[in-house]
Symmetry: C2
Subunit: 208 residues, 2 copies
């Protein structure tokens, strides 16, 4: 796990050099997710975060210069974790559309387990606009690369545009909000199938 | 115009009773859109809003009790204006999918003309969560009603779910952000066509 986590930790000049250091930094990021998720950026405090993490105040400053810097690191960390979580889910797929279904299902499951993610990413629009934009641009780029692979493999049409990736990302984000965060009235499998059917055949009536 | 605007103004006990009053309230809402859009809720000030509106400070309190109340009224006003703008664009349509295309195109054009809308609606998640949720629930409900009409008319499949409406709304919101707010590198017609083709036939390769 330490190896996997280490990949999630943003590199800076305060990068931990030991397994114990990595673990402490990880604890601070997890505590920050809860603190920012519950209180929002402005109400959240560094002491609230170190108390949740069970670490000394000094260890915060070993790894971060400020609440702002921790927030930015957290947005990048969540962005990377969503990516990793989806990547793990996408290891076994038959065709490109099925891979997108697995990606959405994994994202929704992640959102249900980490409900604070929406509030944190969304608050980044105001607290750290560059990280907000970077998160969505990176996500759309990843989706577009998968679509291009799908076109090359003959699974998807050949004339797909970056806008198709943004459309898919938007579907995923709003389905995650509605059926991952606000209610869990439907299973993530069911929602992922609905979204996937749109991509597979659209919603028009069958031509007779 | 006064009649159209009057429909946009939220009713409360401070509802204007004259055409002049309606015009003043409209000026305050338009000024608030610019002030909140530029500075964000916390930095925005009532005096900044009345100065932009060219009205006396007293006229603010004739119509609103507080900055919070004005913000909530503004979110509802923008939600209603997006709806009206799309409704006007959707007057001439041949089939249900074309109607959705016109709705997205109208939304993107509105967003380009009122770039502050994203920041204001998105900030509502933190400043006024009920209005934020109400905006998206009402939008999704409207889309779902149109989809159901489309199924009844035989344009769309019959087994569409509320989740299809949320998927379409998510597509529209992210395409509007990327191609309406962040850049204008593609025309709104082109983007609306790309989204509509997804709904018409999906993105899979043609079966041979």
């Amino acid at each position: 796990m330490a190896t996997e986590y280490s990949a999630h930790v943003e590199s800076n000049d305060k990068q931990p050099r030991t397994a114990r250091g990595l673990k402490t930094k990880r604890k601070l990021l997890d505590a920050a997710a809860l603190e920012f998720g519950e209180k929002g950026f402005h109400e959240a405090s560094i002491t609230g975060i170190t108390q949740r993490a069970g670490t000394a105040l000094g260890s915060f400053y070993t790894y971060f210069d400020s609440k702002d810097e921790l927030f930015s690191a957290l947005v990048k960390d969540m962005s990377t974790r969503v990516k990793s979580h989806a990547a793990i889910a996408m290891t076994e797929w038959q065709d490109t559309l099925e891979r997108e279904k697995l990606a959405l299902e994994a994202f929704m499951n992640f959102a249900r387990e980490h409900k604070e993610i929406y509030r944190i990413i969304d608050e980044a629009e105001f607290v750290d606009p560059d990280s907000y934009r970077a998160h969505y641009e990176a996500t759309a780029k990843r989706i577009f690369e998968r679509l291009q692979e799908g076109s090359e493999a003959g699974d998807l049409r050949g004339n797909l545009d970056e806008a198709h990736a943004w459309a898919i990302m938007g579907m995923n984000v709003f389905l995650g909000l509605r059926y991952g965060i606000w209610t869990e009235e439907k299973s993530t499998v069911e929602i992922a199938e609905i979204a996937n059917e749109i991509l597979a055949t659209g919603i028009a009536a069958a031509k007779s």
